[in-house]
Amino acid sequence: MTEAASPQDSPARGFLTPEPGRGGLASWIFSTDHKRIGLLYLTCIMTLFAVGVCLGLLMRLKLMTPGNTIIAPQTYNAAFTLHGVIMIFLVVIPSIPASFGNILLPLQLGASDVSFPRLNLFSWWLYVTGALVALVSIFTGSGAPDTGWTFYVPFSERTTTNVSVAVLAVLILGFSSILTGLNFITTIHQQRAPGMSWRRLPLLVWSLYATAWIQVLATPILGITTLLIFSERVLHLGLFDPSRGGDPLLYQHLFWIYSHPAVYIMILPAMGVISEIIPVFAHKKIFGYKMIAFSSLAIAFFGSLVWAHHMFTSGMSDVAVLVFSFLTFIVAVPSAIKVFNWLSTLYKGSISLEPPLLYSLGFILMFSIGGLSGLVQGAAGADIHVHDTYFVVAHFHYVIFGGTGLGMFAAMHFWFPKIFGRMYHRGRAAWAFGIIMVGMNTLYFPMFVMGLEGMPRRYYDYLPQFAHAQFISTVGSWVLALGLLLMFHNLYAGLRRGAPAGPNPWGAATLEWSVASPPPKENFPEPPVVSKGPYDFAPREHHV
């Protein structure tokens, strides 16, 4: 396969072909084609990701030196709140399921679309509405929200900033997420092609299935929680107000009953992506298919029972602390099962170190560091020391940026030739990966150290003893931004001028690779009949 090709020999455009009779934009934003909706999501998510990154860079720039620099304390509070709200609710929660899930789920099942295509479009519109309302909350009222993305009471009830509008945005986004989950569960049950038994489902589908159940069963709790904050502020119900008999602790319970399972909404689909990529580039059947599929469900189940590990310092009975601490350790088991299975798949495989595999290996490294540091906080005793410090920030960014983020990038590099029919420059993709890894670790690893030394999160200023680590961390943020720029530029260049990729450049065996790239509008010209598993690879015929 050659990297350089003249722009003339463009591949057939499949579902990307402009529709006759409909204006350019309208043929996208009113399309019920799951692939187009998936790309709409991808575009929005990446745009908002850029916004979130800029906010993060701004905070790091402020924290580079101690004292009152660049931005005022109130602006800083708004910056970390918006960074959190945008990254969590607009980027990471929808990330892989709404974009790649939408594009790939029907293709991997051998279906022509999801079960409810119009509902699918509706949920994208809800997402856009939620994003716009979030935008409104920043620029109207008396100042952007400053509570942090957790909206903890009593502060969120009393602050004069625009929290009421922000929680409405979260409510709308939650509804969008529920509808996507509902659609996916129904699709997986109803739209499988003949021969696509549950044991032949690609592991990405299994992970989307587990994710969808969490979306459906946990997100309504976020709905009621945000609705309650709104009513507390507007109607003064007093349900969380101690002066009226309410209990702020119950708010924390409600919030985390959703928000802990939500981290599995974030990470499970990325694990599914990794499970797809590793066997393809090891050219070897996945090791422990059943255990990987089962562990997704186990994570979804146990992950719903551990929420109060965020509240060890908030006030709970010792029994409750021990139970939640124990259950938190249990969740680590299915996560570890996945990691061991991936490594066993690589073992004695015929490995080709292509960009998707590089990003997957990055995922495994970062997720392992992040996951193991999570156990430090899951342990009731150690948590007292690191609670609400930079340690938590480091842990979360290792798991979610190093995990879900790199998983998303891996997906982008893996399915890019499928979706757009072109290939990016693979050497540059590898370089971008290297720079991102260096930047990420330089940015976040010092935070582990600062956290252990007692640097509290969300503080505007810090003691001189943290100056060195803060400085290194900020330099890391620049390196990371550089890597991201290189990566996105490379993908964009591939989109415009990449060589035609052909239907199956990686030699993968799941159904989406059996159709043209980009896939035709109707997905499968002939309804497929499945007769083999998702990782039964053909003998290798090409060398890359």
Binding site: T186, Q190, Q191, L217, L250
Partner: protein
């Protein structure tokens, strides 16, 4: 969805999942209720005396009857009796609106006694009673919104039945709307004893 064969089981599955989410939505409030009942048992008993059991009971009967009506509407259409179906649906919507009218009078009576969210009178009561009324307004209010949405949904379906868009061969929309109404009813079945009968 019209271009492909109608997936009856899929439509039902999707609706059931949606109903789960409704129940979990209220579940958050039931959780708060449980927590506060545990803490303020005596206050809850005392505050519940202020609620009008007769009006609450009447509303329970109204909703149960309306649930029966919507079930009859589904059966009627299944047997091809469009007229009977329309009549039952109209009755269901009327009963739903009756519930809301009743609720309106109940709430106005409370308001005129100075019992409304954030009121000064409420603030003078013991904290447990204030929380009780906070929950009362939050839960019956959210339920009321659901009754309103359900009535709107059933009205739309009534129109669709009249125009023949929902008919004997294809009535899954009516069935799903009926399921939604049953869930709204079911939630009230739990709200009623928790607020009116725990005196």
């Amino acid at each position: 969805m019209s271009e492909k064969a109608k997936d009856y089981a899929g439509a039902k599955l999707g609706m059931w999942l949606f109903l789960f989410t409704e129940i979990v939505l209220f579940g958050g409030l039931f959780l708060l209720y449980a927590g506060y009942l545990h803490r303020y048992r005596a206050d809850f008993h005392q505050a519940a005396r202020d609620l009008n059991t007769l009006l609450g009971g009447l509303n329970t009967v109204i909703l149960l009857t309306s649930s029966l009506c919507v079930a009859l509407a589904v059966t009627a259409l299944e047997r091809g009796r469009q007229g009977q179906c329309l009549l039952s649906l109209a009755l269901t919507v009327a009963l739903g609106l009756g519930f809301l009218v009743n609720k309106f009078f109940e709430w106005s009576a409370k308001f005129s006694h100075g019992l409304y969210p954030g009121s000064a009178h409420l603030h003078q009561l013991p904290p447990g009673q204030e929380v009780f009324f906070g929950l009362y307004f939050a839960m019956t209010g959210l339920h009321g919104v659901h009754v309103l949405v359900g009535a709107g949904l059933l009205s739309t379906v009534t129109l669709m039945v009249r125009r023949g868009r929902v008919r004997q061969e294809d009535f899954v929309i009516l069935e799903n709307a009926g399921l939604y109404w049953h869930v709204v009813d079911l939630i009230w079945i739990f709200l009623f004893p928790l607020f009116y009968l725990i005196t």
